[in-house]
Symmetry: C2
Subunit: 353 residues, 2 copies
């Protein structure tokens, strides 16, 4: 996940410097101030929690998407349907992050009114890191679930060709004093970004992660980029999850599924939220969450000296560390970003002292 | 999963014969006619779709649970709370299957009224196979999701001791002409039943499935039964799912989580249902579902000759086969069942001709 820190020559920047960089770049690319600010903060939040693959490096992807019309930078997301506990947000093919933030706020509101809520987002570009939105639901005292589909790059279990997206799954729950418990993972066994890094460094990857263009197992990243496919995590179980997420993200939103010809890219997204107090006593929930988390941590303290991380614990620690020490960005990533921002006249960020 | 068919000396029985056997046994054990019938049909349905681990073999587990008071065979499940799109079913520590069927019907009703619904089940014994309930939601035209927690037997990723249940995850969605698409899997990497069979046959299991009582990796099933633990499927991702399902099944229901002292066994269960028509056009959904399923199947028809199974396809085929040819039951399993049913005066079933 941490593409940046895997490269030699890392520099550290205060989060604010990177927000300013992204904000100014997005504004120069045609986003209104509110949208530019939302997207910039969302990208840098991904860097802060350690998921650099979803951080400011994405400016290098968004700029060409704006140029070729995939992203309409000024298009606002709007609520197009409300039907009791259900709602639909239309992203208007603008940036996905403001659409997902609108949907998250709406899910909080609807869960307050109806105890349970689901919001889909259609015509939606890259929403960024799903964990951001379920963490927001958890901070609002809800249990939250999010899925989205994405471009076909994964072969289903037993299959040989690209038919599924990396289709992530995210869950958030209040963890009392432990903070929001946030689970957020791709249903692919490996990220494309990691393959790109391994390929650039001439390294092979472990078996079981990719197949070549003929559907044969391989460990050479180049075989993936030559028309191969990623494999799902966890064998047939992860593959099944990906298929279901494709149905949710592709069909419930009406955006279409990744392997079909009318799929226009983007992330068909579904958010679910449940009000804890509608089902159980909220004080008991908090007490029990504390006891459960303590037991989990204790399960790692056996004679083997294992260590159990609570969902979101690593992200929370990384955030604290990066707020203190700055966000590390590899020089290769910086060069990529400056290729976009320099021609826009955006000043380069000041490194952390 | 197919414990029965893995044993030598298999006999085949018509489904009706096994339903009658289970029905009469459960009645003799104190269940009223309606409850006995519901549980018997649910057990045999698991056999029909090939999940023999959740079939009539469970009579051998339920009988001692009734004897020691864990299952109150005559206790009805009741709806104790309805709060807009949310509801709570109390299983009263009776059989779990009728409680789950009540909750499923309620989820259909609430999703009809509110577009989205969630129902929790507390004080609930073994609910059987979650796939049964999400398939029912899918047949009602809904997208359905189900989770439950269960007794601690799985070590979290990085941990050494039993702290999580096998915590299954199930999803159902209408698949148009392909029938309900049903995903239903345990978040443990291997079923206890499979370890028991391997142990009885003196076989080792593949690496990465179990640890011994000191948390060390092992391939000997005996090490698991001597206080070891199962490992989650899919590494940290499967472990994270199991943790989240423990929070849902244990805390949202108020039943408590598996590793804490007040956990009294059973399956804290959560069902979620979404009305497809509240989000998108139902005809488009059907058309797109057909196209997506066709693409998935095509993804298996590559040069490597792979084969992609749609979620639930194997179960659907097995059901058809077993309806035609009878349900295979191993003699070891039959002996186990007759140990319970013979003393109750229940006639043995007639084999298929």
């Amino acid at each position: 996940m941490t593409i940046g820190s895997e490269l030699a020559g890392v520099r550290r920047f205060p989060a604010d410097e990177l927000v300013t960089l992204a904000d100014q770049a997005l504004t120069a690319l045609g986003a209104p101030a509110d949208i530019a600010g939302q997207v910039a903060r969302s990208l840098v939040l991904s860097n802060l929690v350690g998921h650099d693959s979803h951080g400011v490096i994405r400016l290098a992807q968004y700029a060409p998407w704006i140029a070729d019309g995939q992203i309409r930078p000024a298009a606002p997301a709007v609520i197009t349907r409300r039907e009791r506990a259900a709602a639909v947000v239309d992203g208007g093919w603008g940036f996905g992050q403001p659409a997902a933030q609108l949907a998250t706020g709406l899910a909080v509101e609807l869960a307050g009114e109806h105890s349970v809520a689901a919001v889909t987002i259609r015509d939606c570009n890259h929403v960024g890191r799903l964990g951001e939105y379920v963490a927001e639901l958890a901070r609002s005292g809800l249990m939250g679930l999010a899925f989205c589909n994405s471009g076909a790059v994964v072969a289903p279990f037993g299959g040989t060709g690209r038919a599924l997206g990396t289709n992530p799954f995210a869950w958030g729950a209040p963890g009392a004093a432990y903070g929001p418990l946030v689970l957020d993972f791709s249903t692919a066994g490996v990220a494309e970004g990691k393959l790109r890094v391994a390929g650039a460094e001439g390294r092979d990857v472990p078996a079981g992660l990719i197949v070549d263009s003929r559907g044969q197992p391989t460990t050479h990243p180049a075989d993936f980029f030559a028309g191969g496919a990623l494999l799902p995590f966890g064998g047939h179980k992860g593959s099944g999850m990906s298929i279901i997420i494709e149905l949710l993200g592709g069909l419930l939103t009406g955006m279409g599924t990744a392997p079909t010809p009318d799929y226009a890219g983007g992330n068909g997204t579904v958010l679910l939220a449940m009000s804890i107090g509608a089902f159980t006593d909220e004080d008991s929930y908090r007490d029990e969450a504390m006891r459960f988390c303590a037991q989990l941590v204790a399960a790692g303290a056996g004679p083997s000296g294992g260590h159990v991380l609570l969902p979101g614990e690593l992200e929370s620690r990384t955030r604290q560390q990066r707020l203190n020490q700055g966000i590390p960005v590899g020089e290769g990533v910086l060069d990529l970003i400056y290729t976009i921002t320099d021609p826009l006249g955006v000043p380069r960020p000041e490194p952390a002292r």
